[in-house]
């Protein structure tokens, strides 16, 4: 059973293809024809609201769940019918997955023990992995003696110790507090780049997905709505669902003609996927909206929320649009509900959809 350990420095991961995956639970369609390809060594984040099928997709790839129909191809091999314990994948769960009766080092070495690696070799490998995640000095502790963030690091080390063909992470940071979350997120990306393992990272947190991934796939109701590099997704969302999910919360009446839209009196370019002419709704990022106090303004302030460096100002225009503006707090100073304000939007391209 023992396979020769691949040299990770030359072999930079394998390609993954999920083809037309469907998974039904009774009347629920958890996956509804999901297609997803991951390049060798790539980190793809699956992003979507709770219940959209992210976990189901990941578990089917891991073999912990079985697709109702569709195929799982990894490195050109059809793994659809291969049992989970023969798939050679490393998985990091949301939380509490470390074996409580084993030390940190034994947890990390667990997969190698099953592969009958010699005691000294697996000890060395475990320590190497623990160094990689910055926990070399905690090798002889138990899970109960570690913080949540440290436990997730160990889980990552354990998943990587077997040199998996694919690394799977299911909301690995969602049980941690905000500061640790950001730290560990960056570290996961650093480590992933270092080992070069093809990785699927599931999250419902937009910022997290954009921060770690080579490409982000946005899921909705069991299908992929759009998959693109973070910047593209952010700047050119293909559907209203994606737009809303990456933070375009404002919907403003707009008219389109000849590749430009008129929004709040300003002319801005439209992006692919927009309607080509006529009246529609522009989806605008709060950061693209600015407000300034003006006695003759065409909008009024509804509320002001102070968030430290930035503030959020909700306004109502005379035309009937409710908008949220996000601006540096210095610019929001002095604004109060009922104040008259002018509203303008930045000239960045917008998505305009049929109203």
């Amino acid at each position: 059973m023992t396979t020769a350990a691949p040299d990770t420095s030359t072999e930079r991961g394998v390609a993954v293809h999920l083809q037309d995956l469907t998974r039904t639970y009774g009347a629920t369609r958890a996956l509804d024809g999901l297609d997803l390809s991951i390049e060798p060594g790539e980190l793809v984040a699956l992003l979507g609201p709770s219940g959209c099928g992210k976990t189901t997709a990941l578990r089917i790839l891991a073999g912990l769940d079985v697709a109702t129909s569709g195929q799982v191809l990894v490195g050109g091999r059809d793994l659809t019918r291969v049992p989970a314990n023969k798939r050679d994948m490393g998985m990091v769960f949301q939380a509490y997955s470390l074996f409580p009766h084993l030390t940190v080092a034994d947890n990390v070495a667990f997969g190698l023990r099953l592969r009958r690696t010699s005691t000294s070799a697996r000890r060395a490998r475990a320590l190497e992995m623990l160094e990689l995640v910055g926990l070399g000095q905690h090798a002889s502790r138990y899970a109960a003696e570690l913080s949540g963030g440290q436990q997730q690091r160990v889980a990552l080390a354990r998943a990587l110790a077997i040199e998996p063909s694919v690394l799977l992470l299911d909301e690995p940071l969602s049980a941690l507090d905000a500061k640790v979350r950001v730290q560990l997120r960056d570290e996961i990306r650093r480590i992933q780049l270092e080992v070069g393992t093809t990785t699927l990272f599931v999250t419902h947190d937009q910022e997290e997905a954009l921060a770690v991934a080579d490409r982000v796939g946005v899921m909705n109701a069991g299908r992929l709505e759009q998959i693109a590099p973070p910047v593209d997704l952010y700047e050119r969302p293909a559907t209203p669902f994606v737009a809303e999910f990456v933070g375009l919360h404002n919907k403003v009446a707009a008219t389109v003609s000849g590749g430009t839209a008129t929004v709040l009196g300003a002319s801005v370019p439209v992006i692919d996927g927009s309607i080509t002419s006529g009246a529609g709704v522009a989806m605008v990022r709060p950061e693209s909206v600015s407000v300034s106090a003006s006695p003759t303004g065409t909008a009024s302030v509804v509320s002001v929320g102070f968030l430290g460096p930035i503030s959020r100002v909700h306004v109502q225009t005379e035309a009937g649009d409710a908008l949220m503006a996000q601006l540096p707090s210095a610019l929001a100073v002095g604004l109060a509900p009922q104040d008259r304000v002018d509203v303008s939007i930045a000239g960045t391209p917008v998505l305009v959809v049929a109203g």
């Binding site: 891991a62 912990l64 989970a84 314990n85 023969k86 798939r87 050679d88 994948m89 490393g90 998985m91 769960f93 509490y96 997955s97 470390l98 074996f99 409580p100 009766h101 084993l102 667990f110 997969g111 023990r113 099953l114 592969r115 138990y142 899970a143 109960a144 003696e145 889980a155 354990r158 998943a159 077997i162």
Partner: protein
């Protein structure tokens, strides 16, 4: 003035949590400390009230030792049988799922049997298999078989069988929570890392369950060792186990002069249970680092 008030208040506030303990300590005092002290003290008292080792010495008599041995055999064998079968049943119940009917019914029935299983069953035994039990009589008239056989079922062997009727349900009750405590992620993590079903059990589930299993078996041991009612109903001749011997020591006229032998026997039982508890504590010490 005000400062004394304040410090008085503070002292009261500091004492408040301790005050909350009073009912508990009272309870412990009345139901544990006083009886134990009485047992220990009386064990060393002669019929005249003077200090003596006679009662303790009497524990070394062959009759007393045989009885103790029988008690240990009974408690040990039903703890092991009950532990094994109960754990198996608990596993079936948990596998059936958290909302399954099997689980609900088994747990409800176990709850009743673990408490009251012994006595009604003993009556049922007597009514069916006793000297003039229904089945005994029937088989005696045709085909003429004597299953009474000198009443073997109403000695130690019978007790072992009957005790299992409350030991197994008790094991189910205490072991189901332990099985529920096994997280799905542990199994999935093990499988993901390459474990077969067997390897998961060997390397994860069994080590994780062992402390709870042994703890439960020790509980079963103590439960059977101290049980009295079932044996009192079932056994009509002799005193095969220590609790029955205590009864006869306390009530019998024959043992006059050793009025306090019953207390010495009770002390002996306390010592046995204390040894069992110590074993359990030692066991926990081995695992407590990961058990929290």
């Amino acid at each position: 003035m005000s400062s004394t008030h304040a410090s008085g208040g503070r002292r009261l506030a500091a004492a408040a949590p301790a005050l909350g303990l009073v009912p508990f300590l009272l309870f412990i005092g009345i139901f544990l400390v006083v009886p134990t002290v009485t047992v220990v003290a009386t064990s060393f008292q002669g019929a005249d009230g003077g200090l003596t080792l006679d009662n303790i010495r009497a524990l070394g008599s062959e009759a007393a030792l045989t009885t103790l041995w029988h008690s240990i055999i009974l408690a040990g064998s039903t703890a092991i049988i009950g532990g094994a079968l109960g754990a198996l049943l608990a596993w079936l119940v948990v596998s059936a799922g958290p909302t399954s009917r099997l689980r609900r019914v088994t747990l409800a029935v176990s709850g009743v049997l673990a408490q009251f299983g012994g006595v009604p069953l003993a009556f049922a035994f007597i009514a069916t298999l006793g000297f003039s039990g229904v089945l005994t009589e029937a088989l005696r008239s045709w085909p003429g078989v004597d299953i009474w056989g000198g009443g073997w079922l109403f000695g130690l062997k019978g007790l072992i069988v009957v005790y299992c009727y409350f030991q197994i349900p008790l094991m189910v009750l205490v072991f189901v929570p332990a099985l529920d405590g096994l997280r799905v992620q542990w199994r999935e993590a093990a499988v993901n890392l390459g474990a077969s079903r067997w390897q998961y059990w060997r390397h994860v589930a069994v080590p994780l369950l062992t402390p709870a299993f042994l703890g439960s078996v020790l509980l079963l041991f103590a439960n059977a060792f101290a049980a009295y009612a079932t044996a009192a109903v079932l056994v009509s001749q002799g005193n095969p186990i220590t609790p029955l011997l205590i009864r006869s020591a306390l009530t019998s006229e024959v043992l006059l002069g050793q009025a306090n032998l019953g207390f010495a026997l009770a002390l002996e039982m306390i010592v046995v249970v204390a040894v069992v508890m110590t074993l359990y504590a030692l066991l926990l010490r081995r695992t407590s680092r990961w058990m929290r």
